[in-house]
């Protein structure tokens, strides 16, 4: 009975439907693969170039992609000439420092904005909204002067951490998340005599974990790739982050495409690994901001 029912079904699919679907799907795979080639090609090319030996030409007709004389020499040369280990260490310190503190400060600030009534709440909210539209470059000139004349942290890592400890977008996203937490939950905590801080930490934060992840991921990508402000602040090579160091490398290795390629690979690899491991969270986090 089972077989008798299944067989005609497959035959119908096989003769009438499958070929059409098959051709249509094949067409879409061709389109998707073409787009994939355009998106991925620069990475593939840089990757292979970074392993090219001196006998592998960078320019040739027809072009040669895969090295015939593969070597690690380009990486070693970059590593010898520049404190790449320090670049990594600095990038990690800055990125993680900012991610942790920015997420913490944002979830602190957003809590009363979402769940309390107090004098000046709307004013503060609209003030934040207004600063959100202001281009970040605008603040760079006064911030530069502050860094040099007031905080005296020019060319030190603090200079690229402090300005990012609060982000308006992070606060908005957390405020949105807190608004979704039912008031009953908070009132239950208040009934038990818990302080607002306890309620925030023990009751509310665990509920909004997905939003904390969103804020952390947005901040992570932003900070890891941050260049404009760090390039203004960090001048000694030992103090540079990866992005600033990469530009220094580009200057120092002017005509050495293999060395520059190795530098690009070293800069991009950590975030691509991170992305591959946490793909869903990354996409949800970075596009999740839209709904906020």
């Amino acid at each position: 009975m089972e077989i008798a029912r299944a067989k005609p079904h497959t035959v119908v699919r096989g003769t009438r439907r499958l070929p059409r679907h098959f051709i249509e799907n094949a067409f879409w795979y061709v389109v998707l693969s073409l787009v994939a080639v355009i998106t991925v090609f620069p990475f593939i090319w840089v990757f292979f170039t970074s392993f090219k030996g001196l006998n592998d030409p960078i320019f040739s007709v027809p072009p040669q992609l895969i090295p015939r004389d593969p070597t690690l020499e380009n990486y070693l040369r970059v590593w010898r000439l520049l404190p790449v280990g320090r670049f990594y260490l600095n990038s990690i310190l800055v990125t993680f420092g900012v991610v942790i503190l920015n997420t913490l400060f944002a979830s602190l600030a957003a809590y009363p904005l979402a769940k309390m009534q107090f004098w000046g709440r709307d004013t503060i909210f609209y003030l934040l909204l207004a600063t959100y539209i202001v281009p970040p470059v605008l603040t760079s000139i006064p911030s530069f002067i502050l860094a040099v004349k007031v905080f005296h942290y020019y060319d030190r890592l603090q200079s690229v951490i402090f300005p990012y400890l609060a982000g308006v977008l992070s606060i908005f996203l957390m405020r949105q998340a807190f608004k979704g937490v039912p008031d009953d939950l908070l009132d239950a905590g208040r009934m038990d005599g818990a302080s607002e801080f306890r309620i925030w930490w023990d009751i509310v934060l665990p509920v909004v974990r997905p939003s904390l992840a969103t804020v952390a991921i947005i901040t992570f990508v932003e900070q890891w790739n941050n260049f404009f402000w760090p390039s203004l602040m960090l001048h000694t090579r030992e103090n540079m982050t990866l992005q600033v160091g990469l530009v220094a490398l580009q200057g120092a290795f002017a005509n050495d495409a293999r060395g520059i390629a190795a530098g690009v690979v070293m800069t991009v690899i950590p975030i691509i690994i991170f992305f591959s491991a946490l793909q869903q969270q990354f996409v949800r986090g970075l596009t999740g901001a839209v709904k906020g």
Partner: protein, 291 residues
């Protein structure tokens, strides 16, 4: 709700508000003040009234930078067009589609500095682009892509588009997945074919995302810097062909130490940004109401 007179809410707000006051609010006020001064960062600012603005109005490079920044806004319609189509394509239920979505997202997270430097290598006279085009018979000899003033902006814009398409695609994809299947079924019954159904259902359904993308991608376009910086090696291109408002601001402030002049450019940028975001939102909202 908590007691109104409590100090608690202010304690929660304090850390973030101190940072925002020092690094956002104060600089916004200060930049207006500096724009009325002659200031080289080393010696104290001298009040000179509107002189910076008057000099700017007669500065050919400023007008060039302004027009470049406005031309750069063309990336917005291209980005919306390409990423909408791509979203519709990756919204199909195909085996392995998630892998493609992830691949298209890689440029978004890689950072414009590393990617810009990679592009610069590829577009070099001795780069792979020339190698490919010569093998294909398109070019007879290597072309200096980055030394051609007419191409500086288009190449930078192409890079911006290449960097952004995957991000906006994901936004549109999320929007598409919120459109009810029933609307598509209704469109099919009304006799729409494949692409017509997208024109009549998907595009109107994506209105909120289109507004959002139009606003954020044009704000990003007005503030472009990294692409120009990497592709021109920090020089702004031959004959200032790649100098945008933000690049000019950066050069005036941090290369030439004209902090006062740069602040005036910053104020102009702020005014343009405000006008632009407001009209953008108004215009696109009116479109929604007309539907």
């Amino acid at each position: 709700m908590a007691k109104k007179s409590s100090i608690t809410p202010y304690l929660f707000l304090a850390p973030a508000m101190i940072v925002i006051a020092v690094f956002f609010l104060y600089p916004i006020v200060a930049v207006f003040y500096y724009s009325f001064t002659d200031y080289n960062i080393v010696t104290p600012p001298q009040w000179i009234g509107l002189k910076n603005y008057q000099v700017l109005m007669r500065d050919a490079i400023f007008w060039q930078a302004l027009s470049h920044s406005l031309v750069y806004l063309l990336v917005t319609p291209v980005l919306i067009f390409l990423s909408t189509i791509l979203a519709i394509v990756v919204n199909r239920r195909l085996p392995g589609i998630n892998a493609f979505r992830a691949l298209f997202f890689i440029p978004v997270i890689s950072g414009s500095i590393a990617v810009g430097i990679a592009w610069r290598l590829m577009l070099d006279t001795n780069g792979i682009i020339n190698g490919l085009l010569i093998s294909l018979g398109v070019l007879a000899e290597p072309f200096q892509w980055l030394a051609e003033p007419a191409l500086t902006l288009p190449i930078a814009m192409l890079l911006t588009i290449w960097l952004g398409v995957g991000y906006y695609m994901m936004i549109f994809l999320a929007g598409l997945q919120n459109i009810s299947e029933e609307l598509y079924d209704a469109a099919l019954i009304d006799g729409c074919n494949g692409w017509q159904k997208h024109w009549h259902v998907s595009i109107p359904g994506l209105r909120p995302q289109i507004t959002f993308v139009a606003v954020i991608s044009s704000l990003a376009a007005l503030q472009v810097f990294n692409e120009i910086f990497t592709l021109t090696g920090g020089l702004g291109g031959i004959l200032n062909s790649g100098v945008t408002l933000v690049f000019y601001l950066w050069r005036q402030a941090f290369r030439l130490n004209h902090a006062g002049m740069a602040s005036a450019i910053a104020v102009v940028l702020l005014v343009i940004t405000l006008i632009f975001s407001i009209t953008n939102i108004r215009f696109l909202e009116r479109g929604t109401q007309a539907d």
